[in-house]
Symmetry: C2
């Protein structure tokens, strides 16, 4: 996975997706892989960071060049179907926040 | 934990902290609890979402009323000490992004 550790010129945009999964996989894993693969091919995609713990709580942050790139991805047909199934089946709860990244810094001890 | 699922009036600010932990606890767990407790008492703190998986990859997003609130917390003395020890001992790598939250929406099937 791209970890977003590369430095980019700000501003760019971030989508913070916080979620709680329902129990069981129910096709979620393969859908998540496919959505990440599709997102990477969208114009304006910059990177993604994603973590889910054993309790089913997860945060995925995707990074984009513009708000338009985010809107286009939201409207993508396969993504729309996944969003629909997400509400029906995969998520107990989620929250989406669209943000403008103003500044970034980091540490790399590797 | 506050999950940030409550709706807030935008804009507000988010700090996205993506990290990879070193092996072993080395006092990390108790420090993390203490930092969260301290952050909650800072003026302008709005909420936090935090997930770490078994591999040691984690994302913590904290939400704030203003950039000033974020700067004050960064300069807090106990927090400064934790940041220092973070680089020395707890993190292999991290990335901090300061963002302005423009828009939010969510789903609650609970």
């Amino acid at each position: 996975m791209e970890t977003g550790s590369q430095v980019r010129k700000t501003p760019y945009y971030a989508v913070i997706f916080y979620s709680k999964r329902t129990d069981g996989d129910n096709g979620y894993g393969s859908m998540a892989d496919r959505m990440e693969e599709l997102a990477r091919r969208q114009p304006g995609f910059l990177g993604v960071e994603s973590v889910r713990d054993a309790s089913g709580e997860g945060i995925t942050v995707s990074y984009w060049e513009s708000l338009d790139a985010i809107s286009s991805w939201k409207r993508d047909e396969a993504h729309q179907a996944a969003q629909h199934k997400g509400k029906q089946e995969w998520y107990k709860q989620y929250k989406v926040r669209i943000c403008r990244v103003e500044r970034e810094y980091g540490f790399d001890g590797l």
